[in-house]
Structures are given as structure tokens and as C-alpha cells.
């Protein structure tokens, strides 16, 4: 799941400053799940903007809309009338959604309302943690299903840094588990500790093709 966070209000205010009629556009998929840009958050931001503008005595017109997936042209097309009626759109979708809208409505400023941060999963209610760095060269088979690239604060490939605290906690963030301790324990459980002896050459970041594109073989 893609995780995002709403941008600071200061920034949003600055982004929308030149415009009078604004559409707050949400996305009903990843950003809804991570409480950043679903229907609820769209409502809150819209309400906040209305309050802010009326406090400043400014003219204001805020429209709300949420589509199921903002990264799909067909789904975004459903709100084209609303987009047409405004001066600018503030999108609460991830970067893919913002760009989809920008491409579909080339004459409208499509402003990002959230910062897309990482691929992650919920740790508990309301907390998400990074799980995948989308490096394009997955080696989770060799690390017992724990990705040290994102879960180790230093992104180390060949075992812990040496600063691991008591109880297997990270040197940098004592609330976090040391990823390499997790790797060790998992492999130990599976009787595959020998894998730990293998040395990994510096990671081939060339595998990360920018801009990335994945084509399903069957399509």
C-alpha cells in the first residue's frame, strides 16, 4: 500500500493562494486506507480551507470529489465537470494520481495536497511503517522476508552495523527493532542461518529503472 501524508497547511495555503475556486480531489484507494486523502480527509481539508478563507475575509468556493482510483483515466473522467468548474485542483492522491489528473486536464493547475512517502503497511491503528523501497531487485528470499534496505536505518546489506542496542533495538531509533536481528531470528527459526554467511556485493541499483514501468507479461 502507498503511504502518504497531508502536506503542511502553510504549503497548501501557498499553493492555492492565487485561486478562488478550488476542487479538493480525493482518491478512494491507498490514501484512503492511510488516512491521507479519502473522502473524510477531503471533507476536512475543504472545511479547513473554507474556514481559513472566510476568516481572512476572502472569497471562497471549495468543491469536493473523491474517485475510486485517481491513477485511472476512466475513473478520473467521472469528475471532469467538477474540474471544469474550478480554477485549480488540489489532489490528495499519490503522485501517480496527481499526474493522471494533470495529464487529463492539461489546462488546469493540479496541485499536490499530500506528500507520497513510501510503500508500507499498518503497524497498528493509525500507524504505518515502511516495508518496501521499490528497489527493483528484490532479495527478500535471502533475508527471511525482512527488507534491510528500508527497515535498517542505514540500509545495510551485510549484517548489523554493530550499534544494536540491548533487546535487539536499533541504534538510531530505540523504538524500532534492528532489521538484522529480525533477519537472524527468522532464519534461525527456519534453520537457514547459513545464508547469513553469504556476502552480498554492493546492490545493483541499476535495476531501479527510472522512470519505472512494469508490464504484465500476459497483457
Amino acid at each position: 500500500m502507498i503511504i502518504a501524508e497531508r502536506k503542511p497547511m502553510e504549503e497548501i495555503k501557498r499553493l492555492i493562494a492565487p485561486y478562488k475556486k478550488i476542487l479538493v480531489a480525493g482518491c478512494g484507494t491507498c490514501v484512503t486506507v492511510c488516512w491521507a486523502g479519502g473522502e473524510k480527509e477531503v471533507g476536512l481539508l475543504a472545511s479547513q480551507l473554507k474556514l481559513a478563507r472566510s476568516a481572512e475575509g476572502k472569497d471562497v468556493s471549495i468543491v469536493e470529489a473523491t474517485v475510486e482510483r485517481q491513477c485511472e483515466n476512466e475513473m478520473v473522467a467521472e469528475i471532469k465537470d467538477k474540474v471544469a468548474s474550478v480554477d485549480a485542483v488540489i489532489s490528495l492522491a499519490c503522485g501517480a494520481g496527481v499526474q493522471t489528473m494533470a495529464e487529463m486536464f492539461e489546462d488546469k493547475p493540479i496541485l499536490p495536497g499530500v506528500n507520497t512517502t513510501f510503500i508500507g503497511r499498518p503497524q497498528k491503528e493509525g500507524v504505518w511503517v515502511e516495508m518496501c523501497g521499490a528497489c527493483g531487485d528484490c532479495f527478500l528470499d535471502r533475508t527471511g522476508g525482512v527488507c534491510p534496505i528500508v527497515r535498517c536505518a542505514k540500509g545495510l546489506l551485510n549484517g548489523p552495523c554493530g550499534g544494536t542496542r540491548r533487546g535487539g533495538k536499533c541504534e538510531i531509533d530505540p523504538d524500532k527493532d534492528c532489521a538484522w536481528v529480525l533477519v537472524y531470528r527468522r532464519l534461525e527459526k527456519q534453520g537457514r542461518l547459513d545464508i547469513m554467511r553469504q556476502y552480498y556485493a554492493p546492490k545493483n541499483y541499476r535495476a531501479v529503472k527510472r522512470p519505472g514501468k512494469v508490464q504484465a507479461a500476459k497483457a
Binding site: M9, K13, K40, L44, S47, Q48, L51, A52, S54, A55
Partner: protein, 131 residues
Amino acid sequence: MKAMDKQIIAFCCEHSAYAAADLAGKLRLHYPENVLVIRVPCAGRIDVIHILKALEKGAAAVLVMGCEDGACHHITGNTRAKERVKYCNMLLKEIDLDGRRVEMFNLSPNAPHKFVKAVNEVVNTIRQLGR
């Protein structure tokens, strides 16, 4: 006390604050009449958007009133309401509005005085804030 033109919305849990407000009426404990109570089954029903919309509609303040901490009929309803009010204060602060316009109170159904006190407190705060 003469009515101010601005209204104050009080979301009241039917188990506690709503009953306390009723009792305040029965005992003729008077409070400013610009307080309008909206009855909810639990303070935990309140969504941040309800509070913001009330302010948008021109309410001078919003009170969320639930059971005492540890006495919620739905275990965590009142603590969640408190968190939501806190979040709401933060949202207001972001747009340079005074967070004190939104407040959470905990009270029991047999605390009419506490209800009146809370209401008066907020009315005074609003007076100070002006507008």
C-alpha cells in the same frame, strides 16, 4: 444573561452529558441560551468534520461532552472523542483559528453543575476571544 448572536453547539452523549443538561434544566440552573445541544449516542460518534462544519456554519464554539474518563459505556468512545477534539484543535491552529473554540468535557449524568460550569467557561472564553 442576554443571548449573544453566535451559537454554541454542544454535542452531548445521551448517557451522560445530555442527562446532566436535562437535570440542570429540572433544577433551573440557568445558563446562556445560545447553547444548542445535539444528542449523540456516544461522544465517540463525533467526527472531526461535524465540528468543523459547525464552525463553518458560524458557531462560535463547539463542545464535545462525553462520559467521565473510565466510565464510557463504549469503553473508548470518550477517549477517542478527546483525541478527535485534540486533532481538531490542531487543524484549527493550522489555519490560525483559536483552538479554544473547540473543547472536550467529561461529566457524569448526575453532574448538572459541571455541565453549567463547562458551558459558562466556554461562553467566557468566547467573550474573551471576541469576534
